[in-house]
């Protein structure tokens, strides 16, 4: 009995631990392992519950994985019907509940199970002759070693490719943006969002040069510098500030970015677009 129910206990435990890992914000690798177990546990249990007959190991793995992929689809649709929002907690709850229901279903199934009909047995002692078997290759230690080596090589290629792609040379870049702050007015279907007239804009600098950089940002109005910011950014860092903005076409607002030590050449610029009347110096 214990041996027959071991799989149920394991699957149920996986679900509870997976749910607990989510609730307690377990460390990344632990949550990944338990989360994968939680994701596939309902599939195994419902495969056992629906297809209680003896399947080969491969068939059991395949049907379990297949049902594990089906259940979130049907469960999500059920939640949609019940108007339950599908946030992370809902998905985890769904998987835990499906697993626990699966535990009950398999337990009931096994309690009600009648002994297998010997005529269905492929055992030669049963009524039906066993189909001829192909010679078994057998997994010798050497074979296992070779398979293991193949797995290491194959997975190693992924690690190699990740490192290689990360090392691929791209020209570094610095992004300068001046985005008017606008509220979306309700849009009609088939039309883009209509926006309010902006009075402010977000001025932003993002450093993706691969190394820390020093910049100087000058804000000009009608060609005169009204504000200067010295900016130092590490790789991947963002600097931003809110500035007054106008759509009056008489007032050119322009931001010139310089990459130090060169303070003469404009490295990037953005403007509010009344025209190109004022050339940046």
């Amino acid at each position: 009995m214990y041996r027959r129910s071991l799989d149920i206990f394991l699957a149920g435990a996986a679900a509870l631990l997976g749910g607990a890992a989510y609730e307690l914000h377990a460390p990344g690798p632990l949550q990944v392992v338990l989360g994968i177990a939680l994701f596939f546990a309902p599939g195994y249990l419902w495969s056992e519950a629906i297809l209680s007959q003896r399947l080969t190991g491969l068939e059991r793995v395949m049907t379990s994985a297949g049902i594990a992929l089906i259940l979130p689809i049907l469960g999500g649709f059920l939640f949609y019907g019940l108007k339950i929002p599908l946030f992370r907690s809902s998905w985890v709850g769904l998987l835990v509940v499906l697993t626990l229901l699966g535990v009950v279903a398999v337990a009931v199934q096994r309690l009600r199970e009648v002994p297998p009909d010997p005529r269905d047995s492929p055992d030669p002692r049963g009524g039906r002759p066993a189909p001829p078997r192909a010679p078994r290759s057998g997994l010798s230690a050497l074979n296992l070693f070779v398979y293991g080596l193949a797995a290491v090589v194959a997975l190693g290629t992924v690690a190699f490719s990740v490192k290689n792609a990360e090392a691929q040379k791209y020209p570094g870049l610095t992004e300068l943006g001046m985005a008017p702050i606008q509220k979306n007015v309700v849009a009609k279907p088939g039309l883009p969002p209509q926006k309010s007239i902006p009075t402010q804009a977000v001025l932003s600098v993002i450093n993706n040069q691969g190394v820390a950089e020093e910049y100087q940002l000058k804000l000009l109005k009608k060609g005169k510098v009204i504000k200067t910011w010295p900016i130092t950014l590490g790789d991947g860092q963002t600097w931003q500030t809110t500035i007054p903005y106008t759509t009056d076409d008489k007032y050119l607002i322009r931001a010139n970015l310089y990459m130090l030590p060169d303070t003469k050449t404009v490295y990037r610029y953005v403007d509010n677009g009344p025209g190109n009347k004022y050339t940046a110096k």
Binding site: L86, L173, G177, K195
Partner: protein
């Protein structure tokens, strides 16, 4: 391994290899242990991954060494596995499964290794956006600007969201796990289906080998797209339906029937075309069963086909009404193309990027060889198995191959449509081709001539597999990852495009109408959640801003325009600079075509990273009307 009761299995099994006539010598590969073949395949993955590294080093697909290395790696994967599956040496079912798994995993790893840091295949962006939207909003049918139809088929987003929630993994890693499992399941379920129906794991293995020659299998069907997941359900449904018809006990038949119904529902929710194909498949086997006198099988498949058809109809009627408008242009184009073909004219299929002659040649030979194998397979099936409902159904289904060729040659977008349809058409084709190949390999003359002829057959099959890869995706000009190419699918997706697209979402909000080149377009849809526009070439082909251009832009509600200085330096390898443009670009854009936006009164320059710029056409009043 497989159930043998019921009406299907009461038919005689497909004849296995004859042993009455001893082979002179099997191929050398037949003596190599499967574990060693798996190791060679893994080394093949390594060699091809080294080729990818060579491409990334700077030369991309123009590196002759890199491309040669890539194909050496592929041959290391395909040749030993193909040779072992085709060999007459008896293999256990487990060994056959191991080889099929090795082939599937090896090709999937190469797909991962092509872009191991994030999604780069364009369709994957659309489902990245769908998944992100679902996780952020907690709603099932959130609008997806890049794939409006996908909004109503949320299966892959649901599964990925559940995995992300349980594991805490990002969308990319979770997506790789979901599609990896789904892809492998599809292949294995298809193999199981072949085994259940043909009752020979050897012929089923050869059938799967032939199935791997389908052009989209190792590329599109292993991407993070909804069809990949739906195919797993299709495969599982076929097996469950066959088992529901063949199991001995009524209880077992009912249980498999439940699984088949669950698979039908999951397929209908996940992907439109796959659900139609599944319905068609169930109808096909039901008809074939009726014609061959297997009433029990016909009834089972008939009920399942009805459930599938009703589910599809209800889904379209109640949830996904836009499916009809989504497919209308494709169906019209197909009808027009086929009509013009019937009248003897050209289908006016537009010329796409010119493939190298070798790819075209190998593609043509592939069509010829498969067609011949189908003819031989049909002859074999008719002679020996015409009372076998599954194989009879496959005979009928294989006619789809010739329709597929018609679509390929005679309709607009025929190449792409035929490639996508091949996923389904190749199922019956593989069965018949496997029957033909088995007959060929076991025929007296071939056995007498020994290893030389086996080598020729193996070479032909490997050539077919190479044909599937060469004419699949990615195309020859981006066979290897490498430096940035303008407006050219995966080769145009890099950190800069992703960063610029992320900027739009962060600072402009989602859903803006943005005109962009074909390289940035899918990234804006996916990472940027913007409504990137098609057919916007006119914005980039005049050196000045004219009232005509302004009027056209206003008519299209263009809010922002993206420019990329690299568009003035290179021609697009894919053929077109802009999405929706069907004319080949033969001249580079001029700097004035792009820089005019710096000088138009009222147009703001809101973003600049040195290469990519965004211009705001609307904030200072709408599109300016004066040049």
């Amino acid at each position: 391994m497989v159930a043998m009761g019921g009406s299907l299995s009461s038919r005689p099994a497909v004849r296995g290899p004859s042993r009455t006539e001893p082979a002179r010598e099997a191929s050398a590969l037949s003596r190599v242990p499967v574990s060693v073949i798996t190791l060679i395949a893994a080394l093949g993955v390594l060699v091809s991954s080294l080729a990818y590294a060579d491409g990334r080093a700077g030369a991309g697909s123009s590196s002759g060494t890199g491309v040669a290395l890539y194909w050496v790696g592929q041959v290391m994967i395909l040749l030993p596995i193909g040779g072992r599956l085709l060999s007459r040496r008896q293999m256990s079912n487990g060994e056959t499964v191991t080889l099929i798994v090795a082939l599937t995993v090896a090709e999937y790893l190469l797909k991962i290794n092509y872009s191991p840091l994030g999604f780069t295949f364009n369709d994957e962006f659309l489902h990245y956006r769908g998944t992100t939207n679902m996780l952020d909003s907690g709603k099932l049918f959130e609008p997806n600007l890049g794939l409006p139809i996908g909004t109503h088929y949320p299966g892959i987003e649901e599964v990925t969201s559940a995995l992300i929630s349980a594991t805490g993994l990002p969308v990319f890693e979770s997506g790789l796990i979901v599609v990896g499992v789904a892809h492998l399941l599809f292949i294995l379920f298809l193999y199981l289906a072949f085994c259940v129906a043909i009752r020979s794991h050897r012929i089923a293995g050869i059938g799967m080998l032939i199935y791997f020659t389908a052009p989209a299998l190792t590329s599109f069907n292993s991407m993070f797209v909804y069809e990949t997941l739906a195919l797993a359900f299709l495969g599982m449904c076929i097996v469950a339906a066959l088992r529901s018809a063949t199991e001995k006990s009524l209880s077992d038949r009912r249980r498999w029937f439940i699984i088949a119904v669950l698979c039908i529902l999951a397929t209908v929710i996940t992907h439109h075309i796959t659900s139609y194909m599944l319905t068609g498949f169930l109808i096909l086997v039901a008809i074939a069963s009726r014609l061959t006198g297997s009433r029990n099988t016909a009834a089972r498949f008939g009920v399942l086909a009805t459930i599938s058809a009703v589910s599809v109809f209800c889904w379209i009627f109640f949830i996904a009404r836009d499916t009809i408008s989504y497919f209308a242009p494709t169906v019209q184009g197909l009808a027009q193309g086929l009509q013009s073909l019937r009248k003897g004219g050209s289908g006016a299929a537009p010329v796409t990027a010119t493939s190298p002659f070798s790819n075209t040649l190998i593609g043509a030979i592939g069509i010829l060889v498969i067609s011949l194998l189908i003819v031989v397979g049909v002859w074999q099936a008719w002679r020996r198995h015409r009372r076998h409902p599954w194989i009879f159904g496959m005979m009928l289904g294989s006619l789809g191959w010739f329709v597929d060729i018609g679509i390929r040659l005679g309709t607009p977008d025929g190449q792409e449509l035929a490639g996508r349809a091949a996923t389904f058409v190749y199922i019956p084709v593989s069965v018949l081709a496997a029957l033909a190949l088995t007959k060929l390999v076991n025929s007296g003359p071939v056995r007498r001539m020994g290893a030389a002829v086996t080598a020729v057959i193996l070479t032909s099959v490997v050539a077919l597999l190479v044909d599937g890869l060469a004419n699949g995706w990615p195309p020859f000009w981006e066979r290897l990852p490498g430096p940035h190419l303008v407006s050219s699918f995966e080769s145009s997706v890099g950190p800069e495009e992703i960063a610029a697209s992320n900027w739009t979402l962060k600072y402009l909000g989602p859903g803006n109408y943005i005109a962009a080149d074909a390289g940035t377009y899918p990234v804006l849809l996916g990472y940027g959640d913007q409504d990137a526009l098609q057919v916007i070439t006119y914005l980039y082909t005049t050196p000045t801003w004219s009232p005509a251009v302004a009027g056209h832009a206003a008519g299209q509600n263009v809010q922002y325009v993206e420019t990329d200085t690299r568009l003035t330096q290179l021609l697009p390898a894919a053929g077109n600079y802009f999405p929706g443009d069907i004319t080949f670009a033969t001249q580079k854009l001029t700097p004035a075509d792009l820089n005019k936006y710096n000088n138009i009164p009222g147009v703001s320059r809101i973003f600049d990273d040195g290469t990519i710029r965004y211009y705001d056409l609307v904030t200072l009043g709408y599109v300016p009307q004066k040049p």
